[in-house]
């Protein structure tokens, strides 16, 4: 039985009121959900609250889970929705077009600082400095192992938009690295 299959079986048990099953799902997925929210909101305090809420929502919604998506995708979708709702309540402008300059800004740091870093450190710094909408696509693909269509489901955007965001995310990353002296041949 694959991890995805045991996840579904556990959700079926949760739907019947099995608390052990929901705790097992918590142990299996909590860290990734927590990190996903922390990366989106920039707040571990918020991530703590929201991640807890996600699993309470799992407890409530398990009877209506249809299994059309992976449980991990479903949980990330709930987390995304809750994070957005909370951020809107706090009236924080979490997708700010001006953020698009952040990667370039990262590349503009004094050369002496950049040259002290190795490429891996620079890469990580640029990933962290990406606009949220680009970094989230990168995180979902590289860290959460999500497919194009699953990312579309989590973020509520078309597949073509996922691809476009991935394209620009990687392009800007390449540009930032190039500006820091690490030419990787593309773009």
């Amino acid at each position: 039985m694959t991890a995805a299959e045991t996840d579904r079986a556990l959700v079926e048990r949760v739907a019947k009121g099995d608390r052990t099953a929901v705790r097992l799902l918590f142990m299996r997925h909590h860290a990734r959900v927590y990190r996903f929210v922390a990366r989106q909101t920039g707040s571990e305090l918020m991530a703590d609250d929201i991640a807890n809420e996600v699993f309470l929502e799992l407890w409530r919604q398990a009877p209506v889970f249809e299994g059309r998506s992976e449980v991990s995708t479903w949980l990330l979708g709930i987390a995304r929705f809750k994070a957005l709702s909370l951020l809107r309540k706090k009236k924080e402008d979490w997708i700010d077009d001006d953020d698009a300059a952040q990667v370039a800004d990262g590349a503009d740091t004094p050369e002496v600082v950049t040259m002290k870093e190795d490429k891996a450190a620079a890469l990580r710094r640029f990933i962290d400095a990406m606009p949220e909408e680009h970094r989230t696509v990168i995180d979902l693909a590289y860290y959460h192992g999500q497919s194009v269509s699953e990312i579309g489901e989590v973020l509520g955007i078309p597949v073509a938009t996922v691809k476009t965001r991935m394209f620009y995310a990687r392009k800007k990353l390449g540009e930032a690295l190039k500006a820091a002296g690490y030419d990787r041949g593309w773009p």
């Binding site: 608390r19 807890n52 407890w59 990580r124 590289y142 990353l173 990787r184």
Partner: protein
């Protein structure tokens, strides 16, 4: 013409590389990437760059550490929402023994470990008629706290002698538990993620194991 249609072949391949690396690509897109990797000298270098992004993203995420008490707080929130949990249904006597043990204040508990060990081994002897193995409950608390671990639930009808022999053979240590649901935290003596996975698979494959889940992997776990 859409933005995607205006892209060069290289652009399209670069866009798809992350999904090739995470194993989710299929159909014509997978074929296109594989054909590109086989035919374009620049493709392997591009794949290497994407792998570096993969590692960087994993490191950035893994640097975020969820609170250690998250599960217990969630359990309380769940109880508040759904009402108090039922007592564990006919859980194994081993789980009950551990529950009693873990309820003792920490200082007393560790001093009592040797006594419990003796009881456990003696019980094993009574049940099986054989000599119990040198079942190691724990090292120091610090050692266990740093050790990779897995979360394991044994079947209620599991034989203690089988569990003890298995733990002993594989140098596994009970580092905590059980929870109200009978879940134990097992210290896993693995130095690499691959070793950890082998041991986790081995635990899961035992006839007395009801569930075995990944807890903390060694640092190279990515």
């Amino acid at each position: 013409m859409s933005a995607a249609e205006k892209m060069s072949r290289r652009d399209k391949m670069e866009m798809l590389l992350p999904f090739y690396l995470n194993g989710s690509l299929e159909g014509t897109e997978l074929e296109a990437i594989e054909e590109w990797l086989a035919s374009d000298p620049a493709a392997m270098a591009a794949l290497g760059e994407a792998e570096a992004e993969f590692s960087g993203t994993a490191a950035a995420n893994e640097a975020i550490r969820p609170p250690a008490d998250a599960l217990s707080r969630f359990a309380r929130a769940l109880d508040a929402e759904a009402g108090p949990a039922r007592a564990p249904a006919a859980s194994s006597w081993l789980a009950q023994a551990w529950s009693r043990f873990m309820a003792v204040p920490a200082g007393v508990a560790w001093a009592a470990a040797a006594v419990l060990l003796a009881l456990v081994v003696a019980q094993s002897f009574v049940q099986t008629g054989n000599r119990g193995g040198d079942f190691e409950i724990a090292g120091s608390e610090d050692d266990l706290a740093k050790m990779p671990f897995a979360l394991v639930k044994f079947k209620p009808d599991a034989k203690l002698s089988d569990i003890l022999a298995f733990l002993d053979q594989n140098q596994l240590k009970i580092a905590g538990g059980p929870t109200a649901d009978g879940v134990f935290r097992l210290g896993v003596p693995a130095e690499t993620a691959a070793d950890y996975q082998k041991l986790l698979d081995l635990i899961a494959a035992q006839p007395f194991t009801e569930a075995a889940l990944e807890g903390r992997k060694p640092a190279d776990g990515g």
